[in-house]
Symmetry: C2
Subunit: 366 residues, 2 copies
């Protein structure tokens, strides 16, 4: 079963790179050989009057807060401000099948042989090959060159499941929470684990948005990074929130989530004191959020990501609302997000339907 | 949380090495620096009149079929003959806390730097540090040097769970089933994945008995390798059967199962034609066995491994009996195994109880 699908080295017509930023994008210079064939969607956070410089030769569109407000109108309230959670606006305006999102302090890593890692190519490889969420394969990704399913792996499960998410890792600065940063300020991740694996069905994981690929058609509408930053009681839980929601929905819809390769080089630890301030409510709340997501189930009639997400928003309101009023607001923002998503991404062929229905006069064939 | 427990390099008083074999144990020469401090339990399969040579200097006890029959009497029927499943007799007669079992065609592997891998030391490390079955850590084993729990990992789960099983892997000849062996006769596993990870709660995996460590006190009574080989319709599913039973019980009791490091060097592929004959019913049956184990639940009053295993044997009889009469026989052998286990491993302080009860005259303090 190894390598059933030949992987295209470039997928420029089908993938957008989404980058949230508040500064000039000098980091792109190092990524030039890998990213230049792709279209970039830059989501500028903070002061919209600031000019963000993008190195020459890149094909991009850039949205600042004024653009977001103009495009979404009142629904712009669901997009966070002064937090990298704003990146999910980029997922919404993309028209491509796949998204790769990366932080602007992440650089090209090297594998143990000293060779530069093409992170994007690995994400594409991960997304184009199936996942194995229903049974664990001890030799990791069975679709990889030189690997396969081991003895005892049911043959009926060897076709796997479509892959919705490819979660990449980080060399150098690991993605630790503020307390761990404070306790281990010098810890660096130097271990290159040469594996990609599927996170089994029914298991939650902490999804980091620093180096993340996903299939927008399969899961994009659930890749909402929540309400963080300016005016909110919490930060640094945007990707976690998206990961928990997405995993529950992927499990329900029979989609796969992979983690492992590729690595990027994470250059700089963010300030642990600032992080602690952003995180502390999340550290407390996650003790209730995780059990909530672990026991969340979706009814059978939730057959689309949108339906799943709306249902999940109701459960968030009901079950997490009592934890803090923030979750009521978040559950409402989840609904707004779906409304905005559907407005910008009308189902194929349905673009003019709402108007027709409103007029009560569907167009007849002549 | 990394390395909460300093690992003892040797644990000779607490660990036995169990080796099933039909031949002279020349392979031990390569393992001498690693195994010589330990006691070996050799389970001789096949013709008991054959003399198995063990290299000088090893401390061992050897059991052949005559010994097994003598020690277990009629209950010897639960121990397979002419199949490496016979190894589980060694688990039963050991008095140690930990077991490491290895096949006699497995040699010392080297890590990517060319250094010999001390497989036993890694198993001990795995068994002495906790597992993380309730939430996935994307940087793999958080208790390892240089690693920790990542952002978003609930703090309440960072103590982990006691580790019951350490499943090691194989370089060179991968553990493939006969069909895969036939299709890919030249495939070799050359990928050294530098990771140990916990198989999440609720997820089954194919446990291979080639390179396996476990905590006998925590899970030994469920480490039964079933009825295989001589007189049975199936072979090469001994370790799989044990793995599925153990995983369901570990999940129920809150114990952890790890897989990954250490690697051994698996020298020689077994004959795929012979394997196909042994496996073909298993390949067919596992399509029903896996869903059975995936949906198996144990009642709350199953608080010991023995109680769990007896309950599981009943469910095997009821749910898998209709698949083939073999499973009726197997379910009865599971009960016999537990009876034999308890006979050889009476609960502490209860050794003389049965006799006292039989006499109706408990000893009174004078």
């Amino acid at each position: 079963m190894a390598n059933p699908t030949p992987v295209k080295p470039r997928l420029a017509d089908e993938l957008d790179i989404v980058i949230p930023t508040i500064r000039n994008l000098d980091f792109l210079e190092m990524w030039r050989p890998y990213f230049q064939p792709y279209h970039l969607i830059i989501v500028q956070d903070g002061d919209p009057s600031k000019v963000i410089k993008v190195p020459e030769g890149f094909d991009y569109e850039l949205y600042n807060r004024n653009d977001i407000n103009r495009i979404l109108g009142p629904k712009a309230s669901c997009i966070s401000f002064k937090d990298s959670a704003c990146r999910c606006f980029g997922y919404m305006v993309s028209k491509k099948k796949y998204i790769f999102t990366i932080d602007d302090d992440c650089f090209v890593a090297k594998d143990p042989s000293g060779k530069e890692i093409n992170a994007l190519a690995q994400h594409i490889q991960n997304l184009l090959t199936p996942s194995t969420p229903f049974f664990f394969n001890t030799l990791y990704d069975p679709y990889r060159e030189g690997a396969d399913f081991v003895r005892g792996y049911p043959f009926s499960l060897r076709e796997g499941a479509p892959t919705a998410i490819s979660h990449g890792l980080w060399l150098n600065i690991p993605d630790y929470d503020a307390p761990t940063q404070l306790v281990k300020p010098l810890e660096r991740n130097t271990r290159y684990v040469d594996a990609v694996l599927t996170i089994p069905k029914g298991t939650l994981f902490p999804m980091c948005g620093m180096n993340l690929g996903f299939n927008r058609e399969l899961i994009g509408a659930a890749m909402y990074f929540g309400l963080m930053g300016d005016g909110q009681p919490i930060g640094r839980y945007d990707d976690m929130w998206a990961g928990w929601c997405c995993k529950v929905i992927c499990d329900h819809l029979g989609l796969g989530v992979k983690t492992g390769l590729p690595y990027i080089w994470h250059s700089k630890a963010s300030n642990p004191f600032v992080n602690l301030k952003k995180e502390y409510k999340g550290i407390f709340w996650q003790e209730e959020i995780i059990p909530f997501f672990q026991s969340a189930t979706l009814p059978k009639d939730c057959t689309t990501v949108q339906k799943c997400y709306i249902e999940l928003s109701k459960q968030v309101k009901e079950k997490l609302g009592p934890v803090d009023p923030y979750f009521i607001k978040l559950s409402e923002a989840m609904v707004t997000w779906i409304e905005a998503w559907d407005e910008l991404n009308p189902p194929a062929g349905s673009a003019s339907k709402p108007q027709e229905v409103a007029n009560g006069a569907p167009t007849k064939p002549k």
